[in-house]
């Protein structure tokens, strides 16, 4: 038994990934860097979604709605009442007088969204499968309308413009670099948190409920507690991703997080592999780059770009699901099997 | 006479684990053959290999023809009915709808009209309770429905996987009584996997004992009853 090899190998892979992320900005243009920032943001959102759908087995079509809640929370805290006045709008009195530094709004957005997620998770306990998907879809569909209705808080359809972001504390970093590191540091921390959660008692409880609720209950797992917890954590992750997104684009309106984003997030989790954290990174890349490459060479001739985009995107999704039904994680598992067999020998 | 079913050096595996290491056996037309063996000896896998629900190497010949590999639907149409471990009923469907699914292999309506009375002769209670949801039947009734569903398709070969599992002794006796009757009246050929070796050897003319994925002992039921190893491991006297 060589107990040390598996954790050491895992550590090496993680360290390598961290190093790659850290040095990447040296080798890419600022435009590319922005795209990699979005990958980091999607990575965070997908981690949460995979905890909810992959591990605890609850399907949601409303993940983008939680991102919107996180985004608006961050935007309101960044602006404050004074910010609203600068935009020439009447601000609600629930807001603080002065705006906060963008980076501090991220954890708050996560917390607020997490609490809302828990609250949503409680009535959702009574639903499963298709009914649950439908209920979450309802949230996703109605949220933009609600955002438009509460104009004094959300700026209505016109949305909220945020001050342009820049590196805080006088650090000498260009804005794209700063946003990149901000997103990926968040992603790194939340990856470790998710990994700690799913590898032990909590993760097992989630998977047990997913695979056989009756047996899980009789083993002492409370489905109510763990399903609600999964909703709360998934929402918190979405909240952080939403805040990062709002900060990255310095603007938010009811259509920033549309229903289609929820659907694409779910598709990306499946492509990455359900109940696998390593697959999530693949899902995040697909979510960012596939729509872009679906309407540009070499995949599509520019002449057809506009019409071909959605078609190429859809066909590619279908091919991925057909060819690797277990998602990228299963492919990864197959490729690394000899190494793992050696490590656990 | 050539046998109805013949397995020649059949091997099968689940992922990296080999379950069958070359099983050879024959089932003659009109015979009841029992398949005994310890937990994990490969009894269930043998039936699955025949019905095409697990991949195999080696030859499986049914009515003189190689059986279609990995095509359970083709195997069923060829006349082999498999009542799996756990029965595989459509629990949400009614008794009657389950029977209809059994008739599906030969064209539902016509087969059902012709075969249902014959099946109801053996299981009269099924007719009275044809609208009951299958999942609400007791374990014994479910096993009988699974048997009836297989019979409606008028198979040439019936494969039963542990029909006694989870059933009360009286019900086990009842089921094997019906199997014997079917064999005597209609000449139905049966290959049965069973842990209750007493009832199995009572019903079967011949039996095979599997050990670690291979046939270890074979012979007439009466011979096996005298075999010391069989008595110790399977009969308990």
């Amino acid at each position: 038994m060589r107990r040390w090899t598996t954790p050491v190998l895992q550590g090496l892979v993680l360290a390598g990934a961290a190093l790659l992320i850290a040095v990447l900005p040296r080798f890419t243009s600022e435009f590319r860097l922005g795209q990699f920032t979005y990958v980091g943001i999607y990575f965070v959102a997908l981690l949460g979604l995979n905890i909810l759908t992959g591990y605890s087995g609850q399907i949601t079509l409303g993940h983008a709605a939680f991102m919107a809640i996180g985004g608006y929370t961050a935007a309101l805290l960044i602006l404050g009442r004074s910010g609203f006045e600068l935009l020439g709008q009447q601000a609600s009195h629930v807001l603080p007088e002065h705006g906060m530094r963008a980076i501090f709004t991220i954890p708050i957005a996560g917390l607020v969204t997490g609490v809302i997620g828990c609250l949503f998770g409680i009535p959702a306990l009574r639903l499963a499968g298709v009914s649950l998907a439908l209920a979450t879809l309802a949230v996703a569909v109605s949220l933009p309308a609600i955002a438009k209705r509460f104009e004094h808080l959300t700026g209505g359809g016109g949305g909220l413009s945020l001050p342009l972001p820049h590196a805080p504390f006088g650090w000498h970093l260009s804005t794209p670099h700063w946003l990149y590191y901000e997103a990926w540091v968040c992603a790194g921390i939340l990856f470790v948190v998710a990994w700690l959660l799913v590898r032990g008692r909590v993760g097992r409880a989630w998977r047990a409920i997913r695979d056989g609720e009756v047996a899980a209950v009789s083993s002492g797992v409370s489905p109510a507690v763990y399903k609600t917890l999964a909703f709360g954590i998934a929402a918190a992750y979405a909240g952080v991703a939403g805040a990062l997104f709002a900060i990255q684009v310095s603007y938010i309106n009811p259509d920033t997080f549309p229903v289609t984003l929820s659907l694409l997030l779910l598709a990306s989790v499946v492509i990455g592999g359900l109940a696998s954290l390593s697959g999530v990174i693949v899902g995040a890349f697909v979510l960012e780059f596939l729509p872009i490459y679906a309407q540009s060479p070499p995949l599509v001739h520019l002449h057809f770009a506009k019409q071909a985009g959605p078609v190429v995107f859809g066909v590619t999704l279908m091919l991925i699901v057909l060819l690797i039904p277990g998602g990228a994680a299963s492919l990864l598992g197959r490729v690394t099997r000899p190494v793992r067999a050696w490590a656990s020998r | 006479m050539s046998p109805l079913l013949e397995l020649r050096r059949v091997e099968a595996r689940y992922g990296p684990i080999k379950a069958l290491h070359g099983v050879s056996l024959t089932v003659a037309d009109g015979e009841i053959v029992a398949l005994l063996g310890a937990n994990g000896a490969g009894k269930t896998t043998t039936l699955r290999a025949v019905s095409g629900t697990v991949r195999h190497t080696g030859e499986i010949v049914f009515e003189g023809k190689q059986i279609a590999r990995g095509k359970p639907d083709a195997v069923a149409r060829a006349g082999i009915a498999h009542v799996p471990e756990g029965r595989g009923l459509f629990t949400q469907l009614s008794v009657w709808e389950n029977l209809r699914m059994g008739a599906y292999v030969r064209g539902e309506r016509r087969t059902l009209r012709a075969e249902a009375p014959r099946v109801f002769k053996y299981f009269p209670w099924l007719e009275r309770r044809r609208d009951q949801q299958a999942g609400t039947l007791s374990g014994g009734e479910q096993q009988m429905l699974a048997l009836a569903r297989a019979l409606v398709g008028r198979p040439r070969l019936l494969m039963l996987d542990e029909p006694s599992l989870g059933l009360a002794p009286t019900v086990v006796q009842e089921i094997f009584r019906i199997v014997k009757e079917l064999n005597a009246d209609d000449g139905l050929t049966v290959l049965v996997v069973e842990q209750n070796a007493n009832v199995a050897l009572d019903a079967a003319a011949r039996a095979y004992v599997l050990e670690v994925g291979q046939v270890a002992i074979e012979g007439q039921s009466a011979e096996l009853r005298r075999h010391e190893g069989v008595r110790k491991s399977y009969l308990g006297y």
Partner: protein
Amino acid sequence: MAQQHGQTMRPAGLDDVQIAVANPARFDADEHLAFARSVDLDLFEAEASDLAQDDAAIQDWSPSKCIRTADGHIIPRPMALLAIEDVTRRFGGIVALADVSLAMEQGQIVGLIGPNGAGKTTLFNLVTRLYRPNDGRILFDGKDLTRTPAHRIARLGIARTFQNVVLFQHMTVLENVLVGAHARLRPFSERRGRKQAQYILDYLELGEFGRRLPGGLPFGTLKRVELARALAAKPTLLLLDEPAGGLNHEEVGDLAEVIRGLQHDLDLTILLVEHHMNLVMSVSDRVHVLNFGRKIAEGTPGEVQADPAVIEAYLGAERVAAA
């Protein structure tokens, strides 16, 4: 009730007490308290000294708490670890269990047999609180379980297996066992938990399967993995639903050894539902028989096997001929 006893005026007043105890269900506890105190001790000097010794018991007299021993002493009833009292459960119009009572003492192995659909699994589901009884109550270690949520049952010390095997298909055998330990595991005790789970697997000779998924394992092995998962909860009461499924005669013999080992080594109390009569009759201290949701017999394995009603409803003629 006390009045009635007064009218008969038989000298052996305590015999009435004994009768009362034998049929606890017919008596109200408060009435008993009144009756016990109304017995004129001086009239029966011989028994008076006995009663003085048992004064403590008399003070807290109720039929569920006291019994009279063969030599006439009234002593506190040894508390049953599990007491099912007049439990009824209906599903729609169907009565799955009607007024069933069953008591198990600490360390006993109790067999529960009966035809399919007699209500055995329903009883398991009531004890593990997957169902709630329509009537009656279930006491575990003196605590009423009627209002306990199902996921608390494991923490109280009750673990079970399932008739049709309910394992977590996408988790390894070892992880399945670890879920069984869920109620006991604290954060940061992962490593110890894994070690214990591996120990349980080794104890049940499942050690080699730890890293495998349940799919593709033989039925008898899956049944044993479920047993391992139940043991991981470190229960005091173990409910086994047909553990002998998929095993040949010899392996059933080994299983009997395992079950007796659990009783001796781990001091477990075991309720066993099984159709394999050799197993039930060889390991059980007592056997209860259900038929159509009612208890039709109870006794030692020998008594139950000889009971004509049990033979008629369950064992069948062949069995008698063979015996």
